[in-house]
Each structure stands twice: as C-alpha cells, then as structure tokens.
Symmetry: D2
Subunit: 121 residues, 4 copies
C-alpha cells in the first residue's frame, strides 16, 4: 500500500516542504510544557529527535534546548516548562531527491519562535 495517489496535485519540492512543516508543528505542540532542567535536557533532546524522525519523509531532526534560558530558572523547584523560546530545531525532510531544511528558533525582532524553510534544493 502506498499513499502516492494522495499527492498527485503537488510537486516533489512541495511534498518535501509539506512533510517538514507537519513535523515541525508536531514537535512544538507535542513537547512544549514538558518539565526540563539542565539534568534532563539531554534525554529530552534525544527523545524529541528520535520520535519525530519517525514521521513520513523525515531524514533527521536536530534539537537544541537553550542552556541560557534554563539557567534563568530560579524558582523553588529548579526546573522549567519547555517553551518555544527555548527551542532551536532543524528538521530535514527528503522526498524523491529533494531535500528541505525546516528551521525553528526564537527571533528577537519578531518576538516569536519562527518556523521557516532554511534550505531547499
């Protein structure tokens, strides 16, 4: 069984963009809110990377959670809830020879963690 018939109306390039974008939206909304501290950050980054790489057409996912923002956690309990501001992510999608890098990171002038296409064949 194949899903090809559902994608006849878009180009190879558009398909690669489509799948990379789904995965970036998924990543943000699955993991924002997770408790995180300097002690747990490595396992969280790894789990996010490995789980989202499973999605269709995804070649790799690279996640960096800002150590600086985590150090600012001065509450009683020594951890924070993960936010979009703390994330710097690269999702590489690949479809029939077209490779796309979708990136998300916080952009100061937009005051927003922007998702955009960083590289495309």
């Amino acid at each position: 069984m194949s899903d090809e018939k559902y994608f006849q109306n878009i180009t190879l390039r558009e398909r690669a963009i489509f799948e990379g974008a789904i995965t970036m939206g998924a990543l943000f909304h699955q993991f924002v809110g997770t408790p995180v501290s300097p002690k747990s950050v490595n396992s969280l980054e790894k789990a996010i990377e490995e789980s989202l790489t499973l999605q269709p057409c995804i070649e790799s996912v690279n996640v960096k959670i800002s150590p600086q923002l985590m150090e600012e956690a001065e509450n009683e309990y020594q951890y924070l809830s993960l936010t979009g501001e703390m994330l710097d992510v690269r999702v590489v999608s690949h479809y029939e020879g077209v490779k796309v890098v979708v990136r998300m990171h916080y952009i100061e002038e937009l005051q927003y963690p922007l998702m955009y296409v960083e590289e495309i064949d």
Copy 2:
C-alpha cells in the same frame, strides 16, 4: 516588522502549503489525548478551530470528531481520549492569493490518519 525576508526562497504556493502543514501537525499533537465524550465534543471542536485559526496564514479550520468512534466508548467512565483516528480536519491556508486546503482523516487502507493537500489553486 515583517517575516517576509525569511521566505524569499520559496514560492507563494509553497508558503501556503508550508503554513497549512504546520497548523495540521500542531493541531494533532496539541489535542490528541484530550478527554472527550458526546457531551463535550462541540466545545472541543470549537476550541480547536478557533485556536488553530490564529496561526500565520490560516483562514479557517474545520474539525469533526467522529460520533461513531465515541459511541464505542464502553468503559466505566463514559469518555475517551481523543485519537487521530477520530479526527476529520480541514485547514484552509491563504497566502497572497493562493489558497490551499490541507486535510487529515483516517484512511482505512493505510491504517493511518493521513495529512495531505486536498485542494490547491
């Protein structure tokens, strides 16, 4: 301030696809797991629609949670956790005159809630 400079490398059509796809991925991973029953289904559909319509370039979001699957909930507690199988969603994105409809619904032969581009200008 504008984000335009981050999108110079893709076409208008690709941008509309990109934003629709992000929103569909976001929707699935934000709301899967939510407790739902026939009594609460209308408010949940409405909240999903209104919250995801806020995202960049999104014109409308239409969510239908399967009443049939909910009726199958025969557990002690009379509710279910929302799954991708129960969802039928249309996200309409719009960028500079290009309109894209991204759809997600469960497809029997794939055994998977597929996300795909249903309509594009």
Copy 3:
C-alpha cells in the same frame, strides 16, 4: 464493573485529593502550548472545563486565562502560546461525600504556577 477494589488502601478524603490532582496535572500538560488570543479565549476556557470535567470524580472545573498576560502579546501574529503563568484554575473533585478544591495559579514569590488543595471537607 467498578474500580473500587483498586482504592481499598486509601481514605475517602485521599481518593478525592488523588482524583483532583490527576485532573489538574492533566489539564496543564494537555493544553499548555495551545495558541490563544483575546478572540479565542472563551472557547478555549470552555473546552478545557468541559473536557476535564469528564474525568473520574470531577464535579466541576473552572478556568480563567489572564487577559492581562494576553494583552502583552505584541508580536507580529497577535497571539500567544498558552503557558502555566496565564492560568488560574479550580478543579472540584467529589468522592462519597468528600469535596476537595484543587487550585492552580501563578505565585509571584515562588515564580511558579503552584497546584495545591485550596479547600477540603
């Protein structure tokens, strides 16, 4: 079928606390990250309330999302991701005549959205 045999080792009061606490933890981690703006806030509050009230022993859920924090959203896109800081929630659980109010709200001196038992019979 009943779940009673699983709760022989705790008191009625402890059961009511247990169920209220589960629901508060669930609420936070299900909905943090949801896009929200002054336009969508009412439907989101209602959906959170109706969905979490479905859980075992929950009598009512009351959610208030801070209008002040939302007004501070000055980004390009006019919406925010829901955070624990924005939430003020009361979950009322009830088990065999014992009523418990679990509350969560941001506490300045703790720099943390604390969950605690506000009232108990």
Copy 4:
C-alpha cells in the same frame, strides 16, 4: 522561599498522594500522541522518566511502553502514536518520610488505563 504554607490543610500522606497524582496526570497528557516505534522506544521512556522526576516530591518514575502493542503497528509508516493503553508507569513520590507509589496501566475489565495508589506507607 518555601511552599509549605499552602499545604497546612492536608496530612503528610495526603501531600505525597497529591504530588504523585499530579505527576501521573501530567505524564499521560504530555506524552500521549508522541510518535513511537521499537527503534525510538528507549529514548522516549528515558525522557519521560527524567522529565517527570523533576516535579515536586517525585523520587522516581518508571515507564514501560508495551512492545506487544507496538508490534501491532502494521501501517505503511512503521510507527504509532503513543496511547494510554501502551503505558505501564510507576511514579514514586516522597514527602517527609511518607512514600507513595502511584501506578497506571491498562486494565482489561475496565477497558481503561487506570491510575491508582499501588503502595503507601
């Protein structure tokens, strides 16, 4: 700074139950929906354990995702979305000498992933 004044109205035992229950509710609703396969299951289990152990009064978290249920994933894409049915979790909370084990696993006769107090001092 301490949060003690917020917990004057409950016993030590109740506090330990309260914190364990919050963490179990949080765990379920944070991670249900995450893509998972036999390849990624170890990193996901570890990230869930390390992130939830950060919460107040939590001594340890042990997560087992059912390999049997994952093997049933016969869709085109070779992965599943994590559900409550797949999870077997033990959260150990500890407050001033009182230890509580909160457990969640799917119970066939209830058709429900029940959360309950498995052990208490």
